[in-house]
Symmetry: C2
Subunit: 186 residues, 2 copies
């Protein structure tokens, strides 16, 4: 089984309330659609700030979510001097505190995670590929630095399309990039 | 078989001639010994410069070598906008051009690589572990993001001690860090 890869750079999901604090009356504008239906990269950017450092030009993804969530890599976590847990999207309990800085204001909250390796899939594709009772799989990257990534979680939703999401650490370590077709090992 | 891991951040090896261009009459001073006998982290730092960007505070390792070599990660290569090959130490043919900036001057040359995953070993240890005719092995990292790293090259020299070297991309992707004991799969 092969799946198309998307490497996710650090990014931010915002609740509408938090967005208003950060951006005021500026609308959230679409820059381009992402592979997952309805999801988009916006034109809006924030900075991520900690006591140790700041990372600028971090993209806000849309649409708004019920919760605000910052997703960074382990490499970013060393830059910022924080220790976020590896988590699935939305699982923010005991996540790391971070300050998000926008042009209109800033917010500080425990909302920063390192995202798990995961595969977006819908029910039909999950049945087709025999993954109904499978919680996680492995992914084999064939490159000059061949790598098998374990602990890749299956993330099912009716409006998802089949796509593997890795963060930039996994992508760069294995020399894999967005658009690559990679092998799933069940 | 278990081996101790050292995660190597970006660093520079210098020839004595290139060192003099960069640092003038300042001596190369030891900051601390590395695990491999005779190798040390110096107090001296340089910047790495390209048309796109600059990375500061990059450590010079000692002692001097017959050749100047810059070792960075794939993540660094995106920051700098260059495309260095994955190479063993000393194999600099068609490596990427980079400018090294010191307090006394700068040099620009084709000397930048992404280092291969490799294991330092001496002849006795290689025989002991049954690796005499083995060119490369796999490494299993047991963490929250379990990972099998293939293409890990065996690098034998009489004065080496057993140690696995990974770059920061491999270390951060698999949540492995210097000092971890990791499993070798032959």
């Amino acid at each position: 089984m092969k799946v198309k890869l998307g490497v996710s750079n650090r990014h931010v999901h915002l609740s509408m309330d938090d967005y208003k604090i950060l951006f005021g009356d500026v609308a959230l504008e679409k820059e381009r659609d992402l592979v997952q239906p309805g999801q988009f990269a916006s034109k809006q950017k924030v900075a991520l700030k900690t006591a140790k450092n700041i990372i600028s030009n971090v993209r806000v993804l849309g649409p708004f979510r019920p919760y605000t969530q910052v997703e960074i890599s382990k490499t970013d976590s060393f830059t910022l001097g924080i220790n976020p847990p590896v988590r699935s999207s939305g699982d923010l309990e005991e996540s790391a505190e971070i300050t998000i800085v926008g042009p209109n204001g800033e917010i500080t909250k425990k909302c920063c995670i390192i995202p798990t390796r995961h595969i977006h899939i819908n029910k039909e594709e999950r049945e087709k590929y025999g993954l109904v009772s499978v919680e996680k799989v492995k992914v084999k990257i064939n490159s000059e630095k061949k790598t098998i990534l374990e602990d890749v979680y299956i993330n099912e939703s009716p409006n998802f399309v089949l796509e593997l999401h890795l963060d930039t650490d996994d992508g760069n370590a294995s020399l894999a990039k967005t658009g690559d077709e990679v092998e799933i090992i069940i």
